[in-house]
Symmetry: C2
Subunit: 340 residues, 2 copies
DNA sequence: ATCGTCGTGTGAATCGATTCAACGGGCGTG
DNA sequence: CACGCCCGTTGAATCGATTCACACGACGAT
């Protein structure tokens, strides 16, 4: 393997000069620079980032830890983050916590070992334990899709309470009085907030918590949705509408209802969350709460970059909590009007 | 930041001993080991992988470069690869080439800089140029979803010619005589192979290439499918069936046909490719060619691990080309029988 | 003639963990 | 008692790139 010393020998200069050609080309004479550059090309030299990072103290990679890349919502978040990082010449290492606090802790430990420059994190652990542990390493991080507890970190989130209020208000306005909430793992903040918003909308309509049957699931995917729908069909007094904590669940619910011959939206209305691309292409196009996923990723990336820049310039950094607003997209899955 | 020297001082031992506790705990006395371990815990020491890798020569990360993580097919491949890597204690860095040869080259350069332990690669460049360039670095790699040109590398792929033959044979058997092929970027091997298979099935049915109208697209996503469907509807002599190079395209086609009031499958049958989870949940459940995506990822990971193990033991490694077989899943989007 | 400055280059110290030759002490054996 | 051996530990060399104090020559100003 070719190292910087080989290049230096080939070009007839010192290793310091080769390093300068790579990192501050303006400091070296044109003629010398050309000689070094062609030596690099001829030998096929690739610099070793480990040596570099050992010296400079940190790497040029940021870590992104999301709940599940199987959810197109997070794919969009990742796309946004990657774009922001790219513009600053940083690489992104994407990992899945699979909504598990222990996997989250494992990946955060990996990031710490790697001395990543910063982290974008969608916490799986609502207690904040793993995040608190991670803070000790002193690696800058930004929370994504979750508001920080204090103001000790930046965060970008979408108002989940507002989003679910929109969704459920839409249902109560159509006359629904008895709803189901297909939720998800209770330890996720998003799941809790979306319940809060749903209850708020019910209260507006003069309804109490008894109007909302919660159907929790272990995961947030299509299979869990199918499973929840089976439970839904078995309920003694069947609700007339289902609010799902995300679109994957909603698609699963839709599939099972369809197979059971339940007409959507006539017999059962469905609202999803996230408005992933597949929601519009579903058997019955899904009404859903749209979240600005890519924008969230980009913004989170930018906040992190700001913090890094401040750190490098020795300036003070004020943490910011950005909250974006969701938007209800009405489609066929809720279009029927309820009788009474 | 805490370094190994701090731990050594705290535990009252030399740095060599601390390193031994971390890497070969059996060589150190129980009492000493415990002292070092608690020093590590108390100080919150995290070892610096850059220093480690500088010394040992390579990292414990493998690179995975896929065409598009927006395609659930590749998410499944990644899941499989990650699992295989995890079992061997390796991390995975996932990147998207976005089907672009230049982005592919960029990410491969990043992997080379990082001295990743190995690479799993779905090439975007059918010419094999970027792959050939990458070979120079001497980093082991395995091709995924693509058979290698020679036998100079391992590969895991699914027989695309067989898969598309299945798909199109299914259509001709149902009486279709005039088909469209919504393809994709011509520089992808998969796209070419799937055309070859389609033409083979047509030939079996006594039909020539004129029976297949190709509608190429620039990308392989839902939006491109919508766009292709618009062109499809504008054709002078409208085909009765569409074969799409993947499910994302098929979902886009379905959406546009639906909006235009074209009945699927009565007026137009659709076959997709990949059998992603969303294909079954579509407006009209899609007939699709199922590929063993997760298995492909796992297998590719295992082949790479085998190669790495051989390298470490100084053994000879024989490259293998594994070809998996796809399977046709028939659903409603092709269920109508053609008249003549 | 002297001094300062500028533009280029050099070479050694440095980052943190790993590894290995060497060492010391305890024990058993001849 | 002397010797060899094993166990556990030490300390220094090493990996490759970066960085910085310094050197060197040329040139201009005084």
């Amino acid at each position: 393997m070719i190292v910087i010393k080989d290049v230096a020998r080939r070009a007839g200069v010192s290793v310091g000069t080769v390093s300068n050609v790579i990192n501050r080309p303006e400091r070296v004479n044109d003629e010398t620079r050309r000689r070094v550059e062609s030596a690099i090309a001829e030998l096929g030299y690739v610099r070793n980032v480990h040596a570099r990072h050992l010296r400079v103290g940190h790497s040029r990679i940021i870590g992104l830890l999301v709940l599940d890349m199987g959810n197109p919502f997070f794919v969009d978040v990742a796309r946004g983050a990657e774009q922001a990082a790219r513009e600053a010449g940083l690489g992104v290492m994407v990992c899945n916590s699979n909504q598990s606090a222990s996997e989250e802790a494992e990946y955060l430990a990996l990031f710490a070992e790697q001395r990543v420059r910063g982290v974008l994190l969608t916490p799986a652990d609502a207690t904040g334990r793993t995040v608190a542990d991670f803070r000790r390493h002193g690696i800058p991080f930004v929370l994504v899709d979750r508001v920080g507890a204090g103001t000790e970190e930046c965060s970008v989130s979408v108002d989940d309470v507002a989003g679910s209020t929109l969704a459920v208000r839409h249902l109560t306005a159509a006359g629904h009085r008895h709803l189901a909430y297909v939720s998800g793992p209770a330890h996720l903040q998003q799941i809790q907030d979306r319940r809060t918003g749903a209850l708020a909308a019910l209260a507006e309509a003069g309804l109490g918590a008894e109007a909302l049957v919660e159907l929790p699931t272990r995961t947030l995917d299509v299979a869990a949705g199918r499973d929840a729908a089976a439970r839904l069909l078995g309920l003694p007094r069947r609700p007339t509408a289902v609010f799902c904590a995300n679109d994957l669940l909603a698609l699963g619910v839709l599939q099972t209802l369809f197979a059971a011959g339940v007409d959507v939206p006539q017999d059962m209305a469905i609202v999803g969350y996230d408005d992933i691309e597949f929601a519009a292409a579903a058997a019955v196009p899904l009404t859903s709460v749209r979240q600005p996923a890519t924008a969230m990723g980009t913004l989170a990336g930018k906040l992190l970059l700001e913090e890094l820049a401040a750190e490098e310039d020795g300036e003070e950094h004020k943490h910011r909590q950005v909250v974006l607003q969701p938007e209800l997209v009405v489609r066929k899955s809720t279009l029927a009007t309820r009788r009474g």
